[in-house]
C-alpha cells in the first residue's frame, strides 16, 4: 500500500525533455502543444491567404508560379488549404485544444481531464492529419475543391491522390475532435468541484461544453459524407453520381449538416472568452449569466436546423428555402441577447482598456458587423444576388477572422501570464491590436462592395472593374499578416519578461478558479477539489 502511494507520487513528477511532451497526459502541457500547433498553422494558413491576395491584387495571373496550365488550379488549392487549415488546424486547436485544455479543468476545480491518455492521443493524431493535408498540396496536383469538397468536383472532377489525402486528413482531424469532445463532456459533467452546479459554471466552460456537443453530433455526419466521397472516388460507388442514381445535392446536405454547426464550433468558445474578459475589465460580474449560458445553448440547438441556407441557389424548392430563411433569422435573437448582455456587463462598470479588453471590444463590434450581414444573407430572396459572391467572403471573415480570431487573441493576452508566468508587454499588445484592426477591416470591408457589384468568390482572376477594391483588400491582408508576425515578436518579448506575477494579476474583476492558483499555474493543480460557494 505504501509502495503504491510512493509510486503514484513518482509518476506525478514533471517529466523532462521530449518525454514530457510526447508522452504527456497533463492537460496544461497538452494545451500548450495545441496552442503552439495553432500558431504554426495560423502562420501557414495566413501565408496561403497572402499569396492569394498577392494574386488578386491586380487583374491577370502574375504572381502564382507555373503557367496557365497550373496557375489557376494552384490558386484553388490555396483557397482549399487556407480554409481547411484555418478551421481545423488554427481556430479549433487554439480554442478547444488550447484554451479548453488549459482552462476547463482549472475553472471547474478538476485536477486534469477525465481521460488524460486520450487527451494525448487527440493532440498527436492531429500531426499526421496536418501532414496529410499539407502533403496533399504537394503530392499529386493538390485538392482544388474548396473546403466544402463538393461532389462531383471532388469525385470525377479531380483525379490523383490529393483529394484522398485531404479526405483522410479530415477523418483524422475529426477523430481527434470527437475524442476531445468525449473527454470534455466527461470532465465537465463529472469532475466539477463540489458546489459548482451547472448554473454556477463559468461561461467559458459552458461555451466549451456546447461546442463539444456540436462536434460530437455533427462530425460523424461529416465522416459519413467524406467516406462516401472516398468510395465514390476509389471503389466505384455512386452516392453522389447522378448518372448512376446518386445525388450531388445529397453531399451538400450532409456536408452542411456538419458545416453549419462547425461554424458555431468556431465562434462559441470566442463568446466564452469574451464574457470572461469583459467581466474582468469592467470589474463587474457578467450581466444575465443564465441568459448568456442558455443563449449559447439556443444558438447550438438552432445551429443544427439551418444548414441548407448555404444552398439557396441549389434548386431546393421555394418552401424549403422559406423554412431555412425563417430558422436562420431566429439565430439573431440569442445572438442579440449575448451582444446586449456584454454591453450591459460593461454598463456601470469601471472599465480599463488593457490589451485583452481591446480585443474583446473589437470582437463585439466587428462580430455585430459580421452578424448583420449574416441577417441580410439569410433572406433567400436576396440570395440570387449574394450567393457565392465576395460579399459572403466578407461576411464570414467578419465573424471568423474577427469574431473568432479576436477571441483567441483576447484569450491569449488574458491568460498568457497564468499559463507561462510571463506577462506580455502592454504597449506592444495594444499595437498588435491596432495594426490587426486596421488590417482586417481594410481586407474584408471592401469585399462587401465587390460582392454587391457581382464579383464571384473563389476566382483566381477577375474582370478589370473589380481591381480597385481588390487592391485595397490586398494591402489590408499584408497589414494583417504583418500584425501576425508582430504577434510572434510580442510572444518573444513576453517570454523575455521577468516581471513576477501574482496569482490574480487582473485583480478584483477576475473571479473564476484559475485565478486562485499561482502564476504560472504549477504542473498539478486542484489536487484536492476547491470548495465553491
Amino acid at each position: 500500500m505504501t509502495e503504491t502511494t510512493a509510486g503514484a507520487h513518482e509518476a506525478h513528477g514533471t517529466p523532462t525533455g521530449w518525454r514530457r511532451w510526447l508522452y504527456s497526459t497533463n492537460h496544461k502541457d497538452i494545451g500548450t502543444l495545441y496552442l503552439i500547433f495553432a500558431v504554426v498553422f495560423g502562420i501557414v494558413g495566413g501565408l496561403m491567404s497572402v499569396i492569394m491576395r498577392m494574386e488578386l491584387q491586380a487583374p491577370g495571373m502574375d504572381v502564382i508560379w507555373g503557367d496557365s496550365s497550373t496557375q489557376e488550379h494552384t490558386f484553388n488549392v490555396l483557397v482549399t488549404g487556407h480554409g481547411l487549415i484555418m478551421v481545423f488546424f488554427m481556430i479549433m486547436p487554439a480554442f478547444i485544444g488550447g484554451f479548453g485544455n488549459w482552462m476547463v479543468p482549472l475553472m471547474i476545480g478538476a485536477p486534469d481531464m477525465a481521460f488524460p491518455r486520450m487527451n494525448n492521443f487527440s493532440f498527436w493524431i492531429l500531426i499526421p492529419s496536418a501532414l496529410l493535408l499539407v502533403g496533399s498540396t504537394v503530392i499529386g496536383d493538390g485538392a482544388g475543391t474548396g473546403w466544402t469538397v463538393y461532389a462531383p468536383l471532388s469525385t470525377i472532377g479531380m483525379t490523383g491522390p490529393s483529394v484522398d489525402m485531404a479526405i483522410l486528413a479530415l477523418h483524422l482531424a475529426g477523430a481527434s475532435s470527437i475524442m476531445a469532445s468525449i473527454n470534455f463532456i466527461t470532465t465537465i459533467f463529472n469532475m466539477r468541484a463540489p458546489g459548482m452546479t451547472l448554473h454556477k459554471m463559468p461561461l467559458f466552460v459552458w461555451s466549451i461544453l456546447i461546442t463539444v456537443f456540436l462536434l460530437l453530433l455533427s462530425l460523424p455526419v461529416l465522416a459519413g459524407a467524406i467516406t462516401m466521397l472516398l468510395t465514390d472516388r476509389n471503389f466505384g460507388t455512386a452516392f453522389f453520381d447522378a448518372s448512376q442514381g446518386g445525388d450531388p445535392l445529397l453531399y451538400q446536405h450532409l456536408f452542411w449538416f456538419f458545416g453549419h454547426p462547425e461554424v458555431y464550433v468556431l465562434i462559441l468558445p470566442s463568446f466564452g472568452v469574451i464574457s470572461h474578459v469583459v467581466s474582468t475589465f469592467s470589474r463587474k460580474p457578467i450581466f444575465g449569466y443564465l441568459g448568456m449560458a442558455y443563449a449559447m445553448v439556443a444558438i447550438g440547438a438552432v445551429g443544427f436546423i439551418v444548414w441548407a441556407h448555404h444552398m439557396y441557389t441549389a434548386g431546393m424548392g421555394v418552401d424549403t428555402e422559406a423554412y431555412f430563411l425563417a430558422a436562420t433569422l431566429v439565430i439573431a435573437v440569442p445572438t442579440g441577447v449575448k451582444i446586449f448582455s456584454w454591453i450591459a456587463t460593461m454598463w456601470g462598470g469601471s472599465l480599463t482598456f488593457e490589451t485583452p479588453m481591446l480585443w474583446a471590444m473589437g470582437m463585439i463590434f466587428l462580430f455585430v458587423l459580421g452578424g448583420v450581414t449574416g441577417v441580410v444573407l439569410a433572406n433567400s430572396g436576396l440570395t440570387t444576388a449574394f450567393h457565392d459572391t465576395a460579399y459572403v467572403v466578407g461576411h464570414f471573415h467578419y465573424v471568423m477572422s474577427m469574431g473568432a480570431m479576436f477571441g483567441i487573441f483576447a484569450g491569449f493576452y488574458y491568460w498568457v501570464g497564468k499559463m507561462t508566468g510571463h506577462q506580455y508587454p502592454e504597449k506592444l499588445g495594444q499595437w498588435h491590436f491596432w495594426i490587426t484592426m486596421v488590417g482586417v477591416n481594410l481586407t474584408f470591408f471592401p469585399m462587401h462592395f465587390s460582392g454587391l457589384a457581382g464579383m464571384p468568390r473563389r476566382i483566381a482572376d477577375y474582370p478589370d472593374a473589380y481591381a480597385g477594391w481588390n487592391l485595397i483588400s490586398s494591402y489590408g491582408a499584408y497589414i494583417s499578416f504583418a500584425a501576425a508576425l508582430f504577434f510572434l515578436y510580442v510572444v518573444y518579448r513576453t517570454f523575455k519578461s521577468d516581471e513576477k506575477l501574482e496569482a490574480n494579476y487582473w485583480g478584483e474583476g477576475a473571479t473564476t478558479l484559475e485565478w486562485s492558483v499561482p502564476s504560472p499555474a504549477p504542473h498539478h493543480t486542484h489536487e484536492a477539489p476547491p470548495t465553491v460557494r
Binding site: G315, G348, L369, N379, R458, A465
Partner: protein
C-alpha cells in the same frame, strides 16, 4: 487616457466605413457590367432585380442603424464608464425587464424583416406564366422563350429548345484558354466577353433551364437578379424578363475546377426584330463545327470522365 484615444479612432474608422456603405445606395451605375470602384448593385434590368434592390436597401438601412446603435452604446460606455469617470463599479447583474426587451424587440424587428422577405421569395422564385408576370409586375410580355444552359468545364452550352436542336457553346475569348474563343475584339470586357453570346428579345419571358455535364456550376446574371446552380442530373429552372436592350454579363458562380474564373455568361438583349433576324441567320448558317458534343470537349481538355455523363446535352446531328 487610452480609452479616449481608442474611442476616437474606432469612431473615425467606422463612420468612414459605414458612410461608404450608405454611399452604395446612391451610386451612379453602368448597365450590365461592373464598373471601377463600384460599391453597390449593378443597374437592374429586370423586375426581379428591382425587387431585390428595394428589399436590400431596406435591409441596409436597418443593419446600418443596428450597427451604429451598438457602436454608440460602446462609445458611450467607453467615455462614461471608464475607470477614471466611474471608479466604483455597480454590482447590477440582473434586470428582467431589460432582458425581456432585448429579446422581444429583435423578434419584432425580425418579423418586420421576414414578412417582406417571404413576399420577395414567393414572388420571384417561382417561374411564372405571362399572366402572372402581368399581375405581379405590371409588364405585358411580348412572348415566351425557353433557353437551356448546360455548364461544361469550362464553357456554357446553350440550347434554344423552342427551335429544334439549335445549340451552341459560349466561351471566353483569349488564346490561353481551352475554348476556341480566339482574340477578343477591341474594347471587350476582359473575362466577361464570350465568343457566342446568348441573344434574347427584350420584354420577353425567358425561362432558363440549367444543368451541367460533369461538375456543378452556377448560371448568374447580376443585372437580372438571376443565379441558379447547374447540377448534373438535375434540371433547375429560373426566369427573367429583360426590360432594357443592352449587353449583360455574369460569371459562373460555383467553384467548378481550374478555369472557374473563365466561364462568363453574356446575354445580348435585343429588339424582337433583331432577335428574329439573328435566329433565322443562325439557323441558316448552322455549321457542324458550331454544334459540338461535350464529350469531344472533354477529350480536348484531356479530361476523361470515368463513366457516362449524367446529362448528355443534346448532340445535334
Amino acid at each position: 487616457m487610452f480609452g479616449r484615444n481608442a474611442g476616437v479612432a474606432i469612431a473615425a474608422l467606422f463612420t468612414a466605413l459605414i458612410a461608404g456603405a450608405g454611399a452604395a445606395l446612391a451610386q451612379e451605375a453602368g448597365l450590365g457590367a461592373p464598373f471601377d470602384w463600384q460599391m453597390g448593385f449593378q443597374e437592374p434590368a429586370s423586375p426581379v432585380m428591382r425587387d431585390i434592390i428595394d428589399f436590400h436597401n431596406f435591409m441596409l438601412w436597418l443593419i446600418t442603424a443596428i450597427t451604429i446603435f451598438v457602436l454608440g452604446l460602446m462609445l458611450y460606455i467607453m467615455f462614461r464608464f471608464n475607470a477614471k469617470s466611474n471608479p466604483v463599479p455597480s454590482k447590477n447583474t440582473h434586470n428582467t425587464m431589460l432582458e425581456v426587451i432585448w429579446t422581444v424587440v429583435p423578434i419584432i424587428i425580425l418579423v418586420a424583416m421576414a414578412i417582406p422577405s417571404f413576399k420577395l421569395l414567393y414572388k420571384d422564385d417561382v417561374v411564372p406564366t405571362a399572366t402572372r408576370v402581368a399581375d405581379l409586375y405590371g409588364i405585358d410580355v411580348a412572348g415566351e422563350i425557353t433557353l437551356k444552359a448546360t455548364g461544361l468545364q469550362w464553357a456554357w452550352e446553350y440550347e434554344y429548345v423552342d427551335n429544334g436542336v439549335f445549340l451552341f457553346s459560349s466561351c471566353l475569348y483569349g488564346p490561353d484558354y481551352w475554348c476556341f474563343g480566339g482574340e477578343a475584339p477591341e474594347g471587350a470586357h476582359r473575362l466577361l466577353e464570350t465568343d457566342n453570346p446568348v441573344v434574347v428579345p427584350v420584354n420577353t419571358l425567358v425561362k432558363v433551364q440549367v444543368t451541367a455535364a460533369a461538375v456543378i456550376h452556377a448560371w448568374a446574371v447580376p443585372a437580372f437578379g438571376v443565379k441558379i446552380d447547374a447540377v448534373p442530373g438535375r434540371l433547375n429552372e429560373t426566369w427573367f424578363v429583360a426590360e432594357r436592350i443592352g449587353t449583360y454579363y455574369g460569371q459562373c458562380s460555383e467553384l467548378c475546377g481550374q478555369y472557374h474564373s473563365y466561364m462568363p455568361i453574356q446575354v445580348n438583349v435585343v429588339s424582337q426584330e433583331d432577335y428574329d433576324a439573328w435566329l433565322a441567320g443562325q439557323l441558316a448558317a448552322m455549321q457542324p463545327d458550331r454544334l459540338k458534343a461535350p464529350t469531344t470537349e472533354f477529350a480536348q481538355q484531356g479530361i476523361t470522365p470515368r463513366r457516362p455523363l449524367a446529362v448528355t446535352p443534346g448532340i445535334a446531328n
